[in-house]
């Protein structure tokens, strides 16, 4: 079957059958890997918390997700009496849709016939667009449950995701500006250039460049917020909202929400790997260059090994490995950081991430247009301006200019603003 397909469509993979094959590979991978992720998260989390974790079902508890799945299948599917039945039923499906649709433009390897599903020239925008749809399932689920806590969870998720989408968009815009392409495969291929244009044996992973590092950190934070994971898991805060938007969901409907969350986490890990971590290259080393040098040093076995590591067959392995690394990072964060307060969440998103991302965007623009020296000069000027503004603001605060303060500093717990609200 594959051979005949390859014979009719030699290189492009434009036919419907190839497209269906790409979709089947992606769907099969995501559906097969999500239970494994849940097992990995539970084990890892229990180690972080000095517990043993699920280790009874199968070797190392590996069959635990299957047992969980069976349990969820056979649980009674409770539908509360006062829910909006149509939307209550639809919400999990709506939540699952973007979790799978977002995979369409993520490349796994250099073979254009097998990945990505659609190599469109708006790939990064597509990811932003689809991830912005992710909020509907949570929001509608929270609303349709007809439960105050669920509604609060839904509202929180909407506000949070819309807020963090901006910073994520600007962080990705830095990459778009630097690469001049919205195509994810091109963004990955650009990272196989020599590091900073001068180190020939390393690859120019964007996380290793100064602007890419800033953009990468911002993207990392916003992707955790977009997937509603700790420490940004306010929409489902167990201790205050009793799981928030999915309080009223049980059995398979809950499982679908759960699966959507994990598929989205994996997808965002893949996007982070593709955009900042050099895609399907295991280490920031220029494999072709190193293989050539190994040949020069008459080490043919090393050359072939290096070619294999950087080649198309091993590529998906590294990509999946990076996705798992992303999931591990998620779990690590969840085990380490306490949940943010709501005002802290909004402060971080609007007052820190968005301005830093925008500044980074300006930095990339200056660097692209005028080069490093102009950028350094501009940074010095900016720093001086910043210091000036901070000193000026601090003086304003000492003078007790309360009218101004309430506009720029709405923190309710400082003594000063309490005085203001009394007057």
């Amino acid at each position: 079957m594959l051979e005949t397909l390859a014979a009719t469509e030699p290189a492009q993979g434009d036919s419907v059958w190839w497209a269906l094959l790409r979709i089947a590979i992606m769907l099969g991978f995501v559906l097969a890997i999500v239970p494994g992720l849940i097992w990995w998260e539970r084990r890892l989390l229990s180690w972080f918390q000095d517990r043993i974790g699920p280790n009874r079902v199968g070797p190392f508890g590996l069959l635990q997700p299957i047992a969980d799945g069976v349990k969820l299948f056979f649980k009674e599917d409770i539908t509360p009496a006062t829910v909006d039945r149509l939307l209550y039923f639809l919400a999990p499906a709506i939540a699952l849709f973007p979790a799978f649709a977002i995979w369409a433009t993520i490349p796994w390897g250099p073979d254009a016939r097998l990945t990505p599903i659609a190599d469109v020239d708006v790939g990064i925008l597509y990811i932003l667009a689809i991830s912005s749809l992710g909020v509907y399932g949570l929001f509608l689920g929270g609303w349709a449950s007809n439960n105050k806590y669920s509604l609060l969870g839904g509202l929180r998720s909407a506000a949070q995701m819309v807020s963090y989408e901006l910073a994520m968009g600007v962080a990705l815009a830095c990459v778009i500006l630097a690469t001049g392409s919205l195509r994810l495969t091109e963004v990955v291929n650009m990272q196989f250039e020599p590091l900073w244009g001068v180190v020939p044996w390393m690859q120019n992973w964007f996380i290793l460049t100064p602007w890419g590092f800033v953009a990468g950190i911002i993207f990392l934070i916003t992707m955790v917020a977009e997937t509603n994971r700790a420490p940004f898991d306010l929409p489902e805060a167990e201790s205050e909202l009793i799981s928030g938007f999915h309080t009223e969901y049980s059995s398979m409907k809950f499982a679908v929400f759960f699966m959507g969350e994990y598929a989205t986490m994996l997808a965002f890990s893949g996007i982070f790997a593709a955009v900042f971590l050099g895609g399907w290259s295991p280490l920031p080393l220029n494999w072709e260059y190193l293989a050539l040098r190994a040949n020069d040093a008459s080490l043919p076995w090393l050359a072939s090994a290096l070619t294999f590591i950087g080649g198309p067959i091993a590529a998906p392995i590294w990509m999946v490995g990076k996705m798992f690394g992303g999931i591990t990072f998620y779990v690590w964060l969840r085990a380490t950081l306490p949940r943010l307060r709501y005002d802290q969440l909004m402060n971080v998103g609007w007052k820190y991430l968005l301005p830093i991302a925008a500044l980074n965007f300006v930095v990339v623009a200056i660097w692209m247009q005028f080069g490093w020296f102009a950028l350094l000069g501009a940074l010095v000027v900016l720093f001086l301006l910043y210091v000036n503004v901070v000193v000026f603001l601090a003086r304003g605060r000492r003078d007790g200019d309360d009218e101004m303060l309430t506009l720029v500093n709405p923190q309710v717990h400082t003594e000063k603003t309490i005085e203001v609200s009394r007057s």
Partner: protein
Amino acid sequence: MSLGVAVFLVMAIVIVLSAWGVVVARNPVRSALSLVINFFTLALLYFGMHFDLLGISQILVYTGLIMMLFLFCILLLNLGAPDTLFEPSLFKRSIAWFTGGVLVLAVASQVIGPLAVADAGPSAPQGFGEAGSVGKALFTGWVYAFEIASVLLLVGIVGSILLAKRRD
């Protein structure tokens, strides 16, 4: 019937049904959801015509952000089913039916007319509406209009913050 026409027909049916759902649904949240589906399917239609950027903007701006704000407002205002929307006057209702029918005819003539002539369908020049060309046009020829629009939006934001934070 080619695959493209079949896909178009399916999406067209979804678009029409969801647009119908917007006005028919009694519950404002369901109306808004119908509009979301409508916008999203419309974007798929744009993809089918190879207007990738237009479709993405449709999803990103309308489906993702504007409809989200609509839903937010609906929830915060806690709107129930509008029972008062029933129009008792037979005269007004007949006028509504008449104007609605004229509108349907006008739109249908524009849809059916080109189909009857068996045209190859609307086609744009190569590279029209691509991200690169749109960006270039936006930041060279139309840069003043673009920047003025952004300033206008900024004024709107500042104004709304002032209105919301005004103390008596």
